[in-house]
Symmetry: C2
Subunit: 337 residues, 2 copies
């Protein structure tokens, strides 16, 4: 019987927030299974957070990562030095999205690609601002830049289109890409409660942030649309090109009226190839109750209109550390499949 | 600038029913686009139907395929001789499903793999009966055997799980895998009409076959479940292992009762890894109205329960020649990606 040594894949994780720690946990949990199934052995050789990075070429333990995160241990080097100088194959970039200038993620990703490392990221900022430049750089270096986790969390959409629907022309994508807004509109409709009341409830349950404006004003959805526009439709747009309205003006009365007519109201992002309508828009929209886009709670959903397969709809959890980590992990495995 | 010659991929299509002709049409329609996007040039060098095969190493024209289908031209050779002797890379097998002995598809697929050709098929019979043997043969020959079109038509499920959800443990799959049954139950509920009336309507509209028993008795769903059980869960089951009941006993009254309680009735196929429950079952089930599985018309849907990504649901057209051809085309491209 043939025995093949598993391929060693060394990984650094930048950003130890929910997603970064989720990735560390998922790699630990799945290490043996992935070795067996895909013949690759994932080893975390460095993690970085605000103070800098800790590294261990033999692999960082759960305990070492936890201690560094809680500042019980200090950094070994700067984050950029780790990216450049520690030998590894993949940089996982999970710092928070910044749509002003994309930093610090943008510099991390550029440095990683220039150091000949693949990049897997959940960070929307660099992709929304500098998609073309980053993809060109990745192509020039012969490295992969993957970002499934940046749109729709665990809900597969980028790879679904690129792999499963290969050969199809993609006409448009339309969906709910923000779980917080979906939760608020779902609860307002079901409980007939006003916006402010439900927002407060969502904040108490940790579904909405203390400053919810990024979600409820539609900005988070807009950034995800830009990533889809550039990556799926080859458009060259940025965040400022999106026509955005949010859900803060939606009243219980509007939801009730819609309900009587057989509709729900959802915050819908829509993008197409731009050849005819140039659609790139986030707005509250009436959705027929029996439309696949009518999903409740914090779920995300997208309907992909194609020229051969017709409409394909995918539904999944848009947020959550393990869910986002699942998308990161699939991207990592995808590099070696 | 680097110019790379596209890779020539020669294809034979066996079976000139709806799916086979759909594949021919889709390849013709997409030939240039696929060459540009994926660097492969697809050429149909042979087609086979009941009388045998016609071949042309320069590529068969639309007209040549049509004339052979309508018996205006005669065969050049037998189907098996074409598979064995005509130089080509991929055999697309689209003959009708036969769950008694898998023929003639089974012999076509075995012959193709033994002749060192990849196989892409929409034919459920050979997979439901001889999955393990066929995959072993493909592995031994270092060839691919792909079958996305056999389950759910254009709705991606096999590749969705294998590629997009790589790294996830799959706990169970539950869904509507037969569009005819979904259409009948949807119309019975919406129009409050009895089963027989709606079945007749479906037959008139070409949605149900003259002998509908394969669909309405749940057998078609059962065969698809067997393919999922063997390919996704590594089980070793066959058609006879499925617990099956169909929809012929469902009354308008039952649908009305369910409706009042907030449910719809759907024919659900369910399969899991078999470690605990050994679930492999087709039966009419109550589905909450707000469940993602509640889709209407002829749509197919599947909810995939995973250990990391949570529940992922995918919805799409389960039937239709171009839709099935879309799945075949994605499989073909997938071999070279």
């Amino acid at each position: 019987m043939e025995t093949k040594l598993p391929k060693l894949v060394r990984i650094s994780i930048i950003g130890l927030g929910n997603v970064g720690r989720g990735v560390a946990e998922v790699i630990r949990r799945k290490q043996e299974e992935i070795k067996r199934k895909y013949g690759i052995y994932l080893k975390i050789v460095g993690v970085a957070d605000l103070p800098g990075a800790v590294v261990d070429e033999n692999g960082l333990s759960e305990d070492a990562i936890r201690k560094f995160k809680s500042r019980e241990t200090t950094e070994d080097m700067t984050t950029l030095d780790m990216i450049k100088d520690v030998e590894h194959e993949i940089v996982v970039e999970t710092t928070p999205t910044n749509v002003e200038n994309g930093e610090p993620g943008l510099t991390h990703i550029i440095t990683a690609l220039e150091s000949d490392r693949h990049v897997v990221t959940s960070n929307k900022g660099p992709l929304a601002l500098q998609y073309g430049m980053l993809m060109d750089l990745a192509a020039k270096k012969g490295k992969e830049l993957k970002f499934e986790a940046s749109v729709g969390g665990a809900m597969p959409i980028i790879s679904l289109i690129n792999d499963n629907l290969a050969g199809n022309g993609i006409i448009s994508i339309k969906g709910i890409l923000n779980g917080t807004c979906n939760y608020i509109l779902t609860r307002m409709r079901e409980e007939k409660l006003p916006y402010k009341h439900v927002l407060k409830e969502a904040q108490e349950r940790g579904i909405a942030e203390t400053d919810p404006s990024n979600d409820v004003a539609g900005r988070d959805t807009a950034v995800k649309l830009v990533i889809l526009a550039n990556s799926i439709f080859d458009r060259n747009v940025s965040y400022k090109d999106v026509e955005v309205s949010g859900i803060t003006g939606i009243t219980s009365e509007a939801l009730k009226l819609a309900d009587g007519a057989g509709y729900v109201i959802k915050l819908i992002g829509e993008v197409d190839g731009g050849s005819s309508g140039e659609c790139l828009k986030v707005a509250p929209r009436l959705v027929p109750k029996d439309d696949p886009l009518n999903v409740g709670g914090t779920l995300n959903v997208a309907t992909i209109k194609t020229d051969l397969a017709g409409d394909i709809t995918v539904i999944g959890k848009g947020a959550g550390p393990i869910e986002a980590a699942s998308a990161v992990l699939s991207d990592i495995i995808g590099i070696y499949m």
